[in-house]
């Protein structure tokens, strides 16, 4: 089967070193690592938003050979920062997810609903809280209907209900055949993903089943903490009804 997202010897000088990986369709993947380990850099490089050395392929096709509009249809990126300098209404920002589809509005209402934004749809984005603004850029990513979804710490600013909703959506997208890559601060949440990537000092030091990878030894070596997990605090991923 063709990998949905593939990187070979991916490097960004000073930030990411020789990372190779291979993500399949239908996979829900977490990226963890300490601050400055290169999580955001990896996600931006895979999304084609940073100049990087090495090869990136989306569905087997070299990224450099994919036209920009086509990229917008195939991959959605959610950045760590959701800052807006102009007072567009929430609805318009989410509708920007349809840019690559020539503004065909399909899926915009569903995306607003999925991120619980319908009551805020006409509010200017500049008046929202940090968490609300993150839900707006997540909704915009959903509206693209792109099979590759790369989200950089999407839940860092969300309350627990909306955070769980984001995990549920990620699982739902993966079950529908998408590839979802999510960077996380909370390594406990990573246990509920199909696969975890561990970054440390720009290198990929772990790649596989979270239960096999996230051992006390690795967590001590990478995060420099003693891993005593309080399992009762692991957020329960709601079972998708679909």
């Amino acid at each position: 089967m063709t990998a949905a997202l593939q990187a070979a010897a991916l490097s960004v000088p000073g930030r990411l070193e020789d990372v190779s990986l291979d993500l399949g369709p239908g996979e829900l993947v977490a990226v963890v690592g300490p601050n400055g380990a290169g999580k955001s850099t990896l996600i931006q490089a895979l999304a084609g938003l940073l100049p990087a050395e090495g090869q990136i392929r989306w569905n087997g096709q070299l990224l450099s050979e994919i036209p920009f509009q086509e990229r917008g249809r195939r991959l959605a990126w959610v950045g760590q920062e959701a800052l807006f300098d102009f007072a567009f209404p929430v609805r318009d920002v989410v509708a920007q997810g349809r840019y690559a589809w020539d503004d065909d509005p399909a899926g915009v209402v569903e995306a607003l609903t999925a991120m619980d934004l319908v009551p805020l749809a006409d509010r200017p984005v500049t008046q929202l809280s940090g968490g609300e603004r993150h839900r707006v850029i997540l909704a915009r990513a959903l509206a693209t209907a792109a099979p590759l979804q790369l989200w950089d710490e999407p839940v860092a600013q969300l309350d627990v209900r909306h955070a769980l909703e984001v995990y549920r959506l990620a699982r739902h997208l993966a079950e529908a055949g998408g590839t979802v890559l999510v960077s996380l601060h909370d390594i406990r949440a990573a246990y509920r993903f199909d696969r975890v990537l561990v970054l440390d000092h720009g290198r990929l030091v772990g790649n596989g089943d979270p239960h096999a990878i996230l051992t006390a030894g690795l967590i001590r070596a990478v995060f420099r903490v003693e891993a005593t997990f309080v399992t009762s605090l692991v957020p329960e991923l709601p079972v998708d009804p679909a």
């Binding site: 931006q44 999304a47 084609g48 938003l49 920009f68 509009q69 086509e70 990229r71 917008g72 249809r73 991959l75 959605a76 990126w77 950045g79 800052l83 807006f84 300098d85 102009f86 007072a87 567009f88 209404p89 318009d92 920002v93 920007q96 997810g97 840019y99 690559a100 503004d103 850029i137 915009r140 693209t144």
Partner: protein, 328 residues
């Protein structure tokens, strides 16, 4: 949808400003007289006043206002900064230095300094030089901060050059007066040469800018997110910067330095009708033309030696300060 009536209303205001600009002045004309003269009827004096003096002045003012406001709209979105305007990149300073260099040094080089063509051509070359320099400086880093800081440095450098040329011509009253006249901006004595020099290219630039509103919307909310959504950011940025420079250069070449139009007009329109550039760009073009014609009317209705650049600064200066004090 917010702002649906914006464009028809602005078009109506522009038509009103256009007719008022033709009607008012030393010789006051009624709307009927204006229309008669436009269609070649009426007495000869009225026809001469309309066709030889007021129509070229009005067309140049309209085009310069539209160009500056469109350019300001683009730069504010481009830099994601409500305080950006065509002067920011150093484009106006470049144009000023080019023109002042011809006025100050032209005679000793055998150039006809006051020629209708040398001056605008020199200011256009200067404006492009400034933009070229900013683009070269920014091409390596390509970040917005870098571009802005390049503009700041360039502005200081070009301004110093202009001041130097003003100082060395201090003894030559006529040259000095010309330089000052041009630096303060104005629409006096605009002729059909000025119209042909500026208006067609400004119209073309505006037409090329209009379809970029969609992309500009995405760009105004971040370069990376715009690219991730399918915008060829590099190409769009280049198009925008070239068009904004051409528009500013030609406005400056035909009307001198007229500040604050690019700051005030897009701002007011954005506050009233929202930031969607698909509507904001045409609105700024209509509103900019109207605003500049209105300011020019003030200089004519109160003939106490007011200059166009002074009027726009009196309106724009306090507005700028108000924006500065406003929480973002």
């Amino acid at each position: 949808m917010k702002g649906r009536g914006a464009l028809p209303l602005l078009a109506l205001l522009l038509v009103a400003a256009f007719l008022a600009s033709l009607a008012f002045g030393e010789l006051r004309l009624s709307p009927m007289q204006v229309l008669d003269a436009l269609f070649g009827r009426g007495d000869e004096l009225t026809r001469t006043v309309i066709w030889d003096f007021r129509l070229p002045r009005t067309l140049v003012g309209l085009a310069a206002g539209a160009a500056l406001a469109a350019s300001g709209t683009v730069m504010q979105a481009f830099f994601r900064n409500p305080l950006a305007d065509p002067g920011l990149l150093g484009v106006s300073s470049g144009g000023a230095l080019g023109a002042v260099a011809v006025l100050a040094l032209g005679p000793s080089l055998g150039l006809a300094a006051a020629s209708l063509w040398t001056l605008p051509v020199a200011s256009t070359v200067g404006a492009f030089g400034a933009t070229g320099a900013v683009m070269m400086l920014a091409e390596r880093g390509a970040s917005t901060e870098r571009l802005l800081l390049s503009g700041v440095a360039l502005n200081a450098l070009l301004g110093a050059g202009t001041s130097f040329l003003l100082t060395i011509t201090a003894g030559h009253f006529e040259v000095n007066a010309q330089i000052l006249f041009w630096l303060m901006g104005g629409l006096e004595n605009r002729s059909w040469e000025h119209v042909w020099m500026g208006v067609p290219v400004i119209a073309l630039g505006c037409a090329l800018l209009l379809p970029l509103g969609r992309g500009l919307n995405l760009l105004s909310l971040g370069e990376q997110s715009a690219q991730s959504l399918g915008v060829d950011v590099h190409r769009l940025r280049r198009k925008l910067i070239v068009l904004a420079t051409v528009l500013t250069a030609l406005a400056t070449a035909t009307g001198g330095i007229i500040g604050f139009v690019g700051l005030v007009v897009p701002h007011v329109l954005r506050l009233v009708w929202g930031p969607d550039h698909r509507r904001l760009l045409p609105a700024a073009m209509l509103g900019g033309g109207t605003f500049l014609l209105a300011c020019d009317l003030v200089t004519r209705l109160f003939p106490i030696g007011l200059r166009l650049g002074v009027v726009t600064a009196v309106v724009g200066g306090p507005f700028f300060l108000w924006l500065l004090r406003r929480p973002r």
